[in-house]
Amino acid sequence: MKILRSALVPIIAVVLALLAGALLIQLSGSSPREAYSALFEGSFVGWERFGTTLEKATPLIMGGLAVAFAFKGGLFNIGGQGQLLFGALIAGAAGYGFTGLPWIIHMPLALLLGAAAGAAWGAIPGVLKATRGAHEVITTIMLNFVAANMAEWLCTKVWRKPGDILVRTPMIEGSAEIPTFGNIPLGFLIAVAFAFGMWYLLQKTTFGFEVRSVGLNPNAASYAGISTKRIVILTMAISGFLAGIGGSIETLGVLGRYEPGFNAGLGFDGITIALLARTNPIAVIPSAVLIASMDASASLMQFKAGVAPEITDVIEALILLFVATPIIVRWFFKSRQGEEISFGANWGSS
């Protein structure tokens, strides 16, 4: 019952956003009915299309989990972009660099190496925050830019296939690939597994309890003997790990190599998804699928209804808007019960 209640707000928000979007589409001269049917068709009709939607949802799930997990610990990880990037890059390097390994070893190895790279990239702002009080919003954004530059350099100087004009890693070995079962990508299932894993970690383990306590009240947490420094570093590392997995799956399961610019904005989409899911790891899954479905069918919407693909960005913003505003929450729920997550409350803490 509680689950249904907390799902009600995002569902109503989505409906309202779709209505507002319909108005915009109407004003721009196209037919909302055609547009929305193309939206549905493009993402869910037919196993192949459904598979593509799930494929697109996978990095969004991991990116959303990364941001959500960090939020639980009271931290703003805006660096998902960079962490994901390194994950993709290192996975790509490990994917082509090791030869002669059986799949059962090579694929997980490449995946985990990519995740480790993401974790390391996430740990840096964590350490800076814990030891020097450097605000993680700034350091993570800066590191995004550094990551982009560094990845380009690595691709140009170190890992480029001789003779390849484009800046990218060589194709990975077949033994490193993440396959699809029929049309369901294994990568999606891995992401779902991580979502449930994160939920379990946060709700059922003592470590998760410590992370949540630090996020909700770092003062009381340290009075209770929890080492906030240790938790901050670990939280950022895990957050980076999750983003790194997302990038790795993209390389190993979808693209087969690392290409710069392959996912401009995926890190920031993670923020949207985490906010939409109100930082609940399980809720990240439907949120990611929703956003992914809009991205997947954008071109079909353009083709069939003549609507510019960016309309989906606008609708996503509207969804976020309606989810976020407490007035709407209070309007539908007379009582004040339930967890109200305040993202802004930890901005000033160090």
Binding site: T205, F209, A224, I226
Partner: protein, 508 residues
């Protein structure tokens, strides 16, 4: 001075105010005459603060009227209240810590040169003159957060006087003052009434009502239960009106039988948050089976002392010994595991994680021990069982142990913290301001728990700004002044006046 024919300076008629299901004020009437000191008495949660917030325009009443000088007024914001010459001295000072005294006082009504530019010189002069006139001198250029609490209160009062308040509302003003400062404040109030200012004085301290008020209105659970002349009643009578039953004003306790020294602090030097010295060569011993009370005005090093003992603040030099073991340098968790329990002075900030459930908060110090956790996995059945047990034992009023702790009343929150800390196998209990801001019933309960702990052999170190609490509970008393322990003796060797002087100036 009290002219029965003149209109009332301020009147509340039939005020009703609810917050959701909670009725804070129910048909409340208050009549304040000109030049009168009118006490508003009630325990925490009775509705006094709500009433005065309505009178000051911070809240809007659901029903009822506010009348100034006999005429009904619209009170929609503090701006309106100030227009009607009503001023308020809040319990939690409404001062901006990083601004100066002058800036705080003139905020909103600043003397300016052309173009909105602040005339700092003029403002400082006006503030200085104002302070002199009312006996509330403060350095106009001092930054508020650097001032001791007593002086901060002067700034708060001057804020209202700067706006020529005719009615001055003071919300629990003596909570943070020494006896001497309290006397000084009462003198200031009397001189104000001589000028025709009317005073509304909120308090839960019966002694003060009898000492100063011309009239007292007693509130209980949102209603006015009576209004009388203090001369016609006594402490017991007022207490009974306040609580609705006869109240134990002093805990009965047997003679203490102290044993070995449990906590031994030697020559402690600690810095505060601004790297100034907070404790200077501080030494004290606490024995098992005794309650050692530290009296002192807030800001003299108590907070830093408690933080140093619990491992939350590093030492510059000195040692803290539990039995034979050196505790300085250990982590907070190690210290807790060694047998030190702690009731923090700020329950919201340090004592509870509000959004966590009552159950989670009850095991906040032991969540990682078995049976509450096994190999990193939390054992919810064991946690719930312990929580239910503690809630019953400590009479915590909550609809469910799974409700967030922040839904509890102040008194119940404090009981949760006490329950948690007293169930921990400890040899030393640190209680800092343990009954601040909670209802009488909970105060009685917590005091009894502290005495029980003492009788069971625990060493109790009590830090409190409520002198009555220190005197009624402690077996030995120490006074802290500017980071030093200036006097230590068994409780009955001190008089109230002596302690007050030690608290104010360090010598008696």
């Amino acid at each position: 001075m009290n002219n029965q024919q003149a209109p009332l300076a301020l009147e509340a008629v039939g005020i009703c105010k609810s917050f959701g299901p909670l009725v804070a004020n129910d048909e409340v009437n208050l009549q304040v005459e000109k030049g009168q000191i009118h006490a508003l008495l009630g325990e925490n949660g009775a509705g006094k603060s709500t009433l005065v917030n309505i009178l000051f325009g911070l809240y809007k009443a659901d029903e009822g009227e506010v009348r100034v000088a006999g005429e009904k007024v619209e009170m929609n914001s503090p701006h309106d209240a100030i227009e009607h010459k009503i001023g308020m001295v809040h319990q939690h000072f409404q001062l901006v810590p990083v601004l100066t005294v002058t800036e705080n006082i003139v905020l909103g009504d600043e003397p300016t040169k052309k173009g909105g530019v602040l005339d700092f010189e003029k403002a400082a002069q006006e503030v200085e003159a104002l302070g002199k006139r009312y006996g509330l001198e403060v350095d106009p250029r001092a930054v508020v957060e650097d001032l001791p609490i007593g002086y901060q209160q002067r700034v708060e009062i001057l804020r209202s006087l700067y706006r020529q308040a005719d009615v001055l509302i003071l919300d629990e003003p003596t909570a943070v003052l020494t006896p001497q400062e309290t006397d000084h404040l009462l003198e200031v109030l009397r001189s104000l009434t001589a000028e025709g200012v009317s005073i509304i004085f909120i308090t839960h301290k019966l002694r003060e009502v009898l000492a100063i008020a011309d009239k007292v209105t007693v509130m209980r659970r949102g209603e006015v239960v009576g209004a009388t002349d203090p001369k016609e009643t006594n402490e017991e009578g007022l207490a009974e009106m306040m609580v609705g039953r006869s109240v134990v004003l002093r805990i009965a306790k047997s003679e203490a039988t102290p044993g070995n020294t449990v906590l031994s602090i030697k020559e402690l030097n600690v810095l505060d948050d601004r790297n100034q010295s907070a404790l200077k060569d501080f030494s004290l011993d606490v024995k098992e089976g005794e309650i050692f009370g530290i009296a002192g005005v807030e800001g003299n090093g108590q907070r830093e002392l408690v933080e140093a003992i619990t491992g939350l603040r590093p030492l510059v030099s000195g040692s803290i010994l539990m039995g034979e073991k050196e505790m300085s340098g250990c982590s907070a968790r190690e210290i807790s595991e060694e047998g030190i329990s702690h009731i923090p002075e700020n329950r919201e900030k340090h004592g509870l994680v509000g959004p966590h459930s009552v159950a989670d908060n009850l095991v906040l110090n032991r969540y990682f021990h078995s049976p509450f956790a096994a190999r990193g996995i939390r054992q919810t059945a064991a946690i719930n069982e312990e929580a239910s047990h503690l809630v019953e034992k400590f009479d915590v009023r909550t609809a469910s142990i799974h409700n967030p702790a922040r839904t509890l009343s102040g008194g119940n929150k404090q009981k949760v913290i006490a329950a948690r800390e007293l169930s921990h196998d400890s040899s030393l209990l640190l209680a800092a301001q343990p009954t601040r801001g909670i209802d009488v019933g909970s105060i009685e309960f917590i005091h009894q728990q502290l005495v029980n702990a003492r009788d069971a052999g625990v060493a109790v170190l009590l830090v409190s700004a409520e002198l009555d609490e220190i005197l009624s509970l402690s077996d030995r008393v120490g006074v802290i002044y500017q980071g030093k322990l200036v006097a230590v003796a068994p409780t009955d060797e001190f008089t109230r006046i002596q302690i007050g002087q030690l608290m104010t100036s360090g010598n008696s």
